[in-house]
Amino acid sequence: MNERTMTCILCPNGCELHVAWEDEPTKDAISVDGNLCPKGLVYAVDELTHPMRTLTTSVLVRGGVQRLTSVKTASAVPRDALSAVRAALRSVVLCAPVAIGDVVLTNAGGTAVDVVVTRAVPKKPGEATS
């Protein structure tokens, strides 16, 4: 029997999960205790097989009222792929105006997930954009 204690990150409750499993930690072969909702079970299985995380970072914007805008992966991506997504974003430069939800990168770092803008940046008045 394998056992592990982990903190669920899916909501601010941060449930402390006590997880036990035989051979493979699958949905049916795992026991999870301490979760306030069913998402805890899904989180535990994901965490033991392929941990998923959302990346939130910033990218450069030209011609806007701010130099940066914030972005996120549209859904969680494998934790192991976070550095590839960050590397792919390093060369991204946007032109103002940008709006929330604008896609700045598709298939980010080979994850099949888009990276989208999370903060609108209006054009700087009097600034010409190409």
Partner: protein, 415 residues
């Protein structure tokens, strides 16, 4: 410079989550609402909180700080709130006259009701008195967050973080992602002060060590931070002799607490609670100054913006009703005090009216606990109860109470 006088039903000071929600709610009650913020953009500190985890309660989805702020800005606009940025409220009188200053203009506002939603500031090195030299490279975590996420400034390469508040934890991950090495997070208390999930996703994911019961006892370096001395502290708060060690770093972040920003409130004569650092309010969030309401982080520090916004909404409704002539928001009615008892650090509101309506109490426990019952009792009679599997000072708890008869003051305790 021009000067003018204007009258509004409700003036809201501060355009973060609490202020935006208060303004929207007040406008929803039919009030003529003006929201004032000193920054060029609304949203307050949410704009620099680019991480996700917001909105699960308010919107049922997981949003980043800027997205969460945008939702509230849109809602305030749609509700007909006048939004005025780049405007500083320089003075607030007990009669709710607001002296406002903005580029090229000074204006005096007369408000039927005022909602204080100015948020909070960070505790600094000076406030916690860390000995040592005074080199560059010592930042509060929120300033580091602003520089990294908004100003595109690289703050350092080898970072030690003092304090395990959520902003410090979030910055540990953020700086790691930006290529810095976070050497350690050092916490004086024997338990982390941030949310457990942030310990997991911000520290454990990146093998960043967390030293509990430790603090920084000296900062070294001439022009720039070169290293810090860290020592273990015992239960009485004294350094354990011989436990000191040095960590080499060029940057020290301080995530050592937040202080409600109540300068304007004091000017207006608002009485403050010594524990929360925010106003003392009754159940409609009205302070001792009639018509002046308080909500969000200026009232007490919240761990979630969702709760700050929700509180803002309640204060906004009450402010609109007061401005509309409903003086039944406090004065003259019978009220009872709400006191924190055993195991409870504070309770907001500090007073409530005796009535049929339920009142939501926000509170924090003094120390981490296992299975806990939080009980509110008036004159020995239970008026509200909350059972928890665990309780932690990092997590604000909410408890509904009803005091129908004049049972006496309410005491909230943990067992």
């Amino acid at each position: 410079m021009t000067e003018s006088i204007r009258t509004v039903d409700v003036a809201v000071i501060g355009g973060g989550p609490a202020g935006l929600a208060a303004a929207e709610a007040a406008a929803g009650e039919g009030a003529d609402v003006l929201l004032i913020d000193r920054n060029p953009q609304l949203g307050g500190i949410l704009n620099q909180c680019i991480h996700d985890g917001f909105g699960l309660h308010a919107f049922g989805e997981i949003l980043t700080g800027p997205e969460f702020a945008d939702r509230y800005m849109q809602r305030a606009r749609e509700a007909g709130v006048q939004l005025q940025t780049q405007t500083l409220v320089a003075r607030l009188t007990p009669e709710r006259h607001l002296v406002c200053s903005r580029p090229g203009e000074r204006e005096t506002l007369r408000a039927g009701a005022t909602v204080l939603a100015m948020g909070c500031r960070e505790r600094t090195r000076g406030m916690i008195r860390i000995p040592g030299t005074r080199p560059a490279g010592v930042y509060t975590a929120g300033t580091a967050q602003y520089l990294t996420n908004m100003a595109n400034v690289r703050i350092g390469r080898r970072v030690v973080i003092l304090g395990s508040g959520d902003i410090g934890l979030i910055m540990a991950r953020r700086l790691t992602w930006e290529g810095a090495e976070v050497v350690a997070v050092v916490e004086k208390l024997p338990y982390p002060s941030g949310l457990p999930r942030n310990i997991n996703q911000c520290l454990l994911d990146y093998d960043i060590p967390l030293y509990l019961s430790h603090s920084v006892t000296c900062i070294h370096g001439k022009d720039r931070v070169e290293r810090v001395t860290v020592a273990r502290f015992d239960e009485t708060g004294c350094v354990v002799p011989g436990s000191e060690f040095d960590l080499s770093c060029d940057t020290l972040l301080l995530s050592v607490g937040l202080i409600p920003e109540n300068e304007l409130s004091r000017q207006a004569g608002v009485a403050l609670d010594r524990t929360t650092g925010g106003a003392e309010v009754q159940d409609a969030y009205m302070t001792n100054v009639p018509g002046v309401f308080s909500c969000g982080n200026v009232l007490h520090i919240h761990d979630l913006a969702d709760w700050a916004a929700e509180e803002g909404g309640r204060a906004g409704v009450a402010a609109a009703r007061y401005a509309g002539g409903d003086r039944g928001t406090g004065n003259g009615e019978r009220t009872v005090a709400i006191e924190p008892g055993e195991g409870v650090r504070y309770v907001v509101p500090q007073r409530m009216r005796v009535s049929e309506s339920a009142v939501l109490l926000s509170l924090r426990v003094t120390a981490p606990r296992g299975a806990t019952t939080i009980r509110a009792a008036a004159g020995g009679v239970t008026v509200g109860e909350l059972r928890l599997r665990k309780a932690h000072p990092a997590t604000m708890e909410q408890l509904e109470v009803r005091v129908r008869d004049a049972d006496g003051d309410v005491e909230v305790t943990c067992t």
